[in-house]
């Protein structure tokens, strides 16, 4: 099946547009795409008429061109008929928004749609989903534009079994400046499932990181998923819900007791190099790090800080997440010392963490990071940057980013996420350096680079 017409439509029909009810999902989708997106849009309703000044067609076959994407938002019972009409009209693919299928016990109705689509080689997303969001291309999320928070255009693809989780992650991505390449809510996944999307997104040019929110797989589907992820050239991250189910069931053997659903899920993911995020905050940190760097590290971390306390916290967290914080050689210490301002040479601690003290200025950070970037003793630099130090200026983010551009050693910054520090944060982020909102999050970012096997 060719997913391109579905995800990159030039033309789109919204089937089920109401002539009277502005907040009907079909109407929300119709109006936002009409007003804000470049796709050519056609409304369909058996009654015909005019809506928002646009002609509404009585059937998909009346639409004056062969459309790429049909968004179906009609009652569940009517969906098979509409699907048949779309296939007959040689539509490229569909998003079925309608609920009332397997999730409400009507598995047979869903099976009918699945077999129809498979027979015709007709790809559709859903049913019971929000559909797709591609920045500045198309948006089938039936939530009014003014209500949702949209992340920047970027390179992370987000695939979610739950539409709500997709929208919520988009908000988090926007908060943390993680850019999105495509967002897909797959709902009941009657035709297009996670494994199909690994194959598609593995070849999807704008995507560099693939993220899934998964509630559960069908029989043996987890096996196919991890095999597909193993063959995928891009990092795959999974957030799983339903970790605690079935715990209380009586089981027949030691092995069955030890190999519970979630334990197996987690073990199989890691066996095949899929990065599991255990929480939403881990997920955002992993996405931000891997969207900046597709370069794996062994985990020899240099910590550069202006505060001894932050350095000590970071060392503890590195140990918790299996990252090394090697001591620097005497030669490296001396090289760094030579480059520091004379005023801090005698007070800076040249161990790892490298504590430049509260008297450090921009130049000290830049020089120390440059020296560490050229040294093989470390493979990633954590920068605990405290913007309230008097010697730090708004330029430091952009200046340190330039060091990365020149030397190529991954740099991860922690800067408290406050409005007044935004110019520092953007100095990093707009130049491709990830910035964490907490020390812990910066270490999660480093651990993502260590766990990335395809990087």
């Amino acid at each position: 099946m060719d997913f391109n017409p579905l995800f990159y439509p030039e033309s789109m029909a919204v089937i089920g547009v109401s002539l009277t009810h502005d907040r009907h999902p079909a109407n929300v989708i119709f109006s936002k795409n009409l007003l804000r997106y470049p796709v050519r849009i056609y409304g369909v309703n058996p009654k015909g008429g005019v809506y928002m000044g646009q002609k509404i067609y009585k059937a998909i076959s009346d639409v004056p061109e062969r459309v790429d994407l049909a968004v179906i938002a009609v009652k569940a019972d009517v969906v098979p008929v509409v699907l048949e009409q779309c296939i007959a009209a040689r539509v490229g693919g569909a998003v079925i928004i309608s609920g009332g299928f397997a999730e409400t016990g009507r598995a047979e109705l869903q099976r009918q749609c699945t077999s129809m689509a498979k027979r015709a080689g007709f790809p559709f997303v859903g049913p019971n989903c929000l559909g797709i969001y591609i920045p500045s291309r198309v948006d089938t999320l039936f939530l009014p534009t003014e209500r949702i928070i949209r992340p920047e255009v970027g390179n992370v693809a987000l695939v979610s079994q739950s539409g709500g989780v997709l929208v919520d992650q988009m908000l988090r991505f926007a908060e943390e400046d993680v850019g999105l390449s495509i967002g897909i809510s797959i709902g009941n996944k009657a035709v297009i499932r996670e494994t199909d999307l690994i194959d598609y997104l593995g070849r999807h040019e704008p995507t560099r990181v693939i993220v899934f929110y998964i509630e559960g797989f069908g029989e043996n589907e987890g096996r196919r998923f991890v095999h597909a992820a193993w063959g995928c050239p891009k990092p795959v991250i999974v957030l799983k819900s339903g970790k605690s189910s079935r715990g209380a069931l009586a089981v027949s053997s030691h092995t069955a007791a030890l190999a519970g659903d979630y334990a197996v899920f987690s073990a199989c993911l890691s066996q095949f190099g899929v990065i599991e995020a255990k929480s939403e905050s881990e997920l955002v940190a992993f996405c931000e790090a891997l969207s900046c760097y597709q370069k794996s590290i062994i985990g020899k971390i240099a910590i550069v800080t202006g505060s001894g306390g932050h350095g000590a916290l970071a060392v503890d967290l590195c140990s918790k997440f299996g990252l090394g914080v090697p001591g620097f050689s005497n030669e490296l210490r001396e090289r760094i010392r030579q480059r520091l301002s004379t005023s801090i040479r005698s007070i800076a601690s040249l161990a790892n963490p490298l504590d430049l003290t509260g008297s450090a200025v921009d130049d000290d950070f830049v020089e120390a990071v440059a020296e560490l970037s050229r040294n093989e003793e470390v493979d990633c630099i954590l920068l605990l940057l405290l913007p309230y130090l008097p010697g730090i200026t708004a330029d430091i983010g952009a200046r340190l980013s330039a060091v990365y551009r020149r030397e190529g050693k991954p740099l991860i910054a922690y800067v408290p996420h406050e409005d007044k520090y935004m110019m520092i944060i953007e100095g990093f982020e707009l130049n491709g350096i990830p910035v964490a909102p907490s020390v812990e999050s910066s270490i999660l970012m480093a651990s993502a680079l260590k766990r990335c096997q395809v990087c």
Binding site: G216, F217, G218, E219, N220, E221, G222, R223, V226, S252, S253, H254, T255, A256, A257, L258, A259, D261, A263, V264, F265, A267, C268, Q271, F272
Partner: protein, 207 residues
């Protein structure tokens, strides 16, 4: 039950200790005459899911008299259908198990075995089939790894033998996945020479 499970595992190429399924005391004593001591005696009973829970495992049997006493003790257990009398192998107790997972199909677990396995839960799960290097990474992940590597002057476990046993077992599980629900080899006793299936149970698929 244990004898059938061991029979199947032996067919699959696993190292099982010599044993007899004695339906009467005479058969038990005959085996002892042939093999010598020490021996272990275990109840065979369809009603005993975990034999040690019903006092159905007697280890360290060192004489004919001790064997007679053991046999008589076991014969009083509910559902008694004879006793397994088996040569004793010394070593570290591991668990090697398999389960058919709904989402991921056949999976293998390897870890520290014995009766307290669920309490310490020091086990690693992998999707079958496994390669030899998977076995190394599983052992790497065990908290009990130093015990396998020769803790406090003890002989280390023969990793070559363990690797082969786990890989062979994982292939066996893939082959019979349509017929089984789970397998416990607990303990799998490993020493510097052998990895021996000291006890095993296969739960077949219902239907």
């Amino acid at each position: 039950m244990e004898p059938a499970a061991k029979g199947l595992l032996r067919e699959a190429g696993m190292d099982c200790p010599d044993f007899v399924w004695a339906r009467d005391l005479g058969q038990a004593l005959g085996f002892a005459t042939q093999k010598g001591f020490p021996l272990v005696a275990k109840v065979v009973s369809p009603k005993a899911m975990h034999k040690s829970d019903v006092g159905g495992v007697i280890t360290g049997i060192n004489s004919m008299q001790e064997l007679r006493d053991a046999y008589s003790t076991l014969s009083r257990i509910d559902g008694f259908a004879g006793a397994i009398v088996e040569e004793t192998v010394q070593g570290i107790e591991l668990i090697l198990g398999a389960n058919i997972d709904f989402q991921f199909g056949p999976v293998v677990i390897l870890g520290m075995g014995g009766v307290a396995v669920e309490i310490y839960n020091d086990t690693i799960i992998r999707m079958a089939p496994l390669k030899e290097k998977d076995v190394d990474s599983m052992v790497q992940g065990l908290r009990g790894r130093p015990l396998l590597e020769g803790f406090r002057g003890k002989q280390p476990v023969n990793m070559e033998v363990l690797r082969k046993a786990v890989v062979r077992f994982s292939r066996f599980v893939v082959d019979i996945q349509g017929y089984m629900e789970s397998i416990d080899i607990n303990p799998l006793i490993c020493n510097s020479k052998r990895c021996v299936v000291a006890d095993a149970r296969i739960v077949l698929k219902k239907e």
